[in-house]
Symmetry: C2
Subunit: 329 residues, 2 copies
Amino acid sequence: MRNIKIVSSAKYLPKKKVTAKQMDKMLGVEEGWSLKKTGVEYRHYVDDENSISMGTIVLKEALKKANLEFEQLDALVGTCGTPAQAIPCTASLLQEAMGMQESGVPCFDVNSTCLSFVTAVDMISYAMEAKRYTKVAFVASEVASVGLNFNQKESSALFGDGAVCIIFEYDTTKTSGIIASHMETYSSGAHDAQIRAGGSLRHPVAHKDVKDTDFLFDMNGPKIFKLASKVILPFCEKLFFGTQRKIQDMKLVIPHQASLLSLNLIRKKLNLSQQQYMIHVYNHGNQIAASIPIGIHDAIEMGKIKRGDEFMVLGTSAGFSIGAIIFKF
Amino acid sequence: MRNIKIVSSAKYLPKKKVTAKQMDKMLGVEEGWSLKKTGVEYRHYVDDENSISMGTIVLKEALKKANLEFEQLDALVGTCGTPAQAIPCTASLLQEAMGMQESGVPCFDVNSTCLSFVTAVDMISYAMEAKRYTKVAFVASEVASVGLNFNQKESSALFGDGAVCIIFEYDTTKTSGIIASHMETYSSGAHDAQIRAGGSLRHPVAHKDVKDTDFLFDMNGPKIFKLASKVILPFCEKLFFGTQRKIQDMKLVIPHQASLLSLNLIRKKLNLSQQQYMIHVYNHGNQIAASIPIGIHDAIEMGKIKRGDEFMVLGTSAGFSIGAIIFKF
């Protein structure tokens, strides 16, 4: 077990609440359509907030709960699926917005789109176990709403904005930690969820044929679901191999939040009870890389996981990647 | 020592060679100006290449040199300072371009702009030391040329395109590895090197006031140099603390490639001889996150470092961050 412990967490949902009824109007569909398709009763969109302002709020709150000053962090890791700017990394911009410009606290981002938080915690846990960094804040702050293509009604109805920070600390008592983790990438799905522009391949100044839609999220939900369904069982087998555990032993499984329908299909495939399976898409939407850590935060707040419990996060992401971590809380 | 060993490396420079004389013409300055300001005699710009095609070339070549198949990699890490697309991560797109869509090899990116390679190797080395991943390919493929603002003549004259792959393997003989590493971020310099758009803060569809120049690199070179000069000596002191070594003991120091003038000023500040200090800006330009690993590749090819030698990479990046690794080759 890599002995890292969740010491605090905080989430923020932006001001603008968009109900399923409002979404139906925005999409020009009949009332009830978006709820039926996605299971999202409401989600929040940024009003006067942005990814940096939201990220700062959750980082401050998580630090306060952990009774830590920013300067006591050994690293700040940005785990957003979508960056604030092309340059520099989001973590640096967060350090600046915290007013901690002179702190020297190392800031960098890890990106595997919706799995960014999972990949980052998975990888950095080894550096924490080796005591290179003993206190690390992971922030996922996502503004999906700016990049939605409302001509793609089903995926537009699914996403929401929000931010979350989880602070981990090396656990000297060796009671909490990561029991196992695993990640796989199948790029046959690389173009089933993408934003084509925003990087060097389609640069709006250098390449004159770049269209507005190149900056918008383009998703083939059914293809991704098919790919996820195909790989998830052998994936979980590898994850649990040698752990003397099976997925049904988990107190809670926190999946990345897809549509309610696909979430439930995956739950059944994994042979998990409703009580074991965290669903928060109905009041958040899919919040890109913030979805899974918001699930962790809410599960703790709601008492669904308690110290000593074993729980698991499991997600898929654009790429296509699948990743998971088994935690002892 | 974290026992990871460089087993192979490959670099690629795109077809279009742009000489200092051609650069002077492009910038509308008198002949000799750009060479005097930057020390760059020539750099390469992409012609029909892009970050993915270049990344694929170097990955293939490095695999071949290491006598490895792609599927034998435990992970592929994208360490570009600028991504290919906003979504998905560059590493996934590389896996796809390799035709290895079904391999399952985990793909993700680490981003600290020009330090991305250094941060990624630093962090992933712990996962390698713990034998989570024993064979890892790191790819930095950069197309700086699409994002240059030619009204900022000095920074435009500095950059070049190119790609590099370095494959590391856990060293069972425990003779090669990382002796020490360190990173610090001072976001007082967060806006001294930036591309404002490309993320959610200035999204060209959601925010109608986004300008073309928001997609271009904006750098205040003198401010960054001042910040680097201020922090570099105390930084190196922390890096070497407890290593029983000093920077002058290094066979070679490979810095991130800034202008020749600032490179030499930093060399003198660090009290290093010309032989100990890798300068390759004159025929490459500053290649963002590819600069340092291209320095490693060239140093190996040129025989400047041999097995058993201790060498160091040291760089600064937009953020502002400073990072370094001391390797035993």
